[in-house]
């Protein structure tokens, strides 16, 4: 690589974004524990959540190291305020019914798999190493989402309608996944980050194929939410953080 070494703050921000995506979605998925339609699906969803939590731990730890301010993964997960979280708004959206959770998983894991595949070649060794482990996990997450999208979409009229409603409800949060700002573009130039915008065509192709097979319609809502990467979040996010952080804030350093 002949490109100049990227600024540490920017690398830290980028790792934090990817880590927050994984952390927040892991927290959402954990809420399915004992709530899915059967024990098997409870375990499947929480397994996926645990994969994401593992990714989040690696990324937050790395973000803290690169930042150089002595913050640990726990400091970053439990002691930041809402406006300091830089996850995309898609992952913080409420679970809704099972179909809405499946829609969120389909949208996110299709994007995240493409991201990890591209990050395998990152000039940043830590990000490439995280990608090497995460790519297999994301592959399974996407497969899980596809299997359920097909079954709900091409199932009963009720399951079809719910799946379509879940897809429609979350569609406005898809666009943000492919936004590129100056943080990302500077790291793309350095060979560290992935150009998110370049992931869009294959994402569209894959999701369109799944929706067609599942007899579902690609949503067309033109409105796109944005701001997650700048710390702007949707209404329910504060409640998620309160639940996630309350134990650590009430009993700092608590372990079990």
């Amino acid at each position: 690589m002949t490109a100049p070494a990227p600024d540490a703050t920017v690398v830290s921000t980028y790792a934090l974004r990817l880590g927050d995506d994984a952390l927040v979605l892991a927290q959402r998925l954990s809420a399915w524990s004992s709530r899915a339609h059967d024990l098997e699906e409870d375990i499947a969803l929480t397994n996926i959540g645990l994969d994401l939590l593992g990714q989040a731990r690696s990324l937050l730890t790395y973000a803290g190291e690169v930042e150089g301010a002595g913050r640990t993964e726990d400091d970053l997960a439990y002691l930041r305020e809402e406006r300091e979280f830089v996850n995309c708004q898609l992952v913080e959206q409420p679970n809704g019914d099972f179909a809405q959770t499946v829609a969120r998983q389909l949208y996110f894991s299709t994007w995240q798999l493409a991201l990890w595949e591209a990050l395998l070649g990152s000039a940043d060794e830590t990000l490439a190493a995280v990608a090497g482990k995460a790519v297999k996990e994301a592959d399974y997450h996407r497969d899980h989402a596809v299997q359920w999208t097909l079954r709900l979409g091409d199932g009963t009229p009720e399951s079809h309608d719910r799946m379509q409603a879940g897809l429609d409800r979350l569609w406005p949060f898809v666009g943000e996944l492919f936004e590129v700002d100056e943080v990302e573009s500077s790291l793309v130039a350095a060979g560290v980050a992935v150009d998110s915008a370049a992931l869009r065509p294959s994402w569209d192709g894959f999701v369109d194929g799944v929706l067609a097979e599942a007899t579902l319609t690609r949503p067309s809502d033109p409105w796109t939410a944005t701001g997650g990467r700048r710390g702007i979040h949707s209404e329910s996010f504060g409640y998620l953080l309160a639940e996630m952080q309350h134990l650590h804030r009430s009993h700092p350093g608590a372990t079990w």
Partner: protein, 111 residues
């Protein structure tokens, strides 16, 4: 029921096999160094593909295996407890069926 169907709880001719009530599946896992698949338990799933995935999540999350079989529980033919006496007791006094009356030459290995 004809062989190959995965139902067991759905009425014959139900038009929606994919959304039939979940079926019970028996799960067999081959461990990394195991030669054969061993029965590890059962689970519920709507169809074969989901049964495989559920088995992966429920029974191999601690690296228990490298290969999984799932079989509809309704397709397993089992011996009846009522037949236990006639099936199994007659073998009890046939010690000569065990290869314990031979002297093994020292040269024979891996026996």
């Amino acid at each position: 029921m004809s062989s190959g169907t995965v139902g067991g709880t759905s009425p014959a001719g139900a038009e929606q096999t994919r959304t039939a009530p979940t079926t019970l599946w028996e799960v067999f896992v081959r461990s990394k160094r195991g030669l054969s698949h061993n029965h590890v338990g059962s689970l519920h799933a709507p169809d074969a593909e989901m049964a495989l995935r559920n088995a992966r999540d429920v029974y191999t999350r601690r690296q228990e295996g490298v290969s999984i079989w799932v079989v509809p529980a309704s397709e397993i033919v089992a011996s009846s407890p009522d037949e236990k006496d006639s099936f199994f007791d007659p073998a009890a006094d046939k010690v000569y069926r065990h290869p314990t009356f031979y002297d093994i030459p020292a040269e024979v290995q891996h026996l």
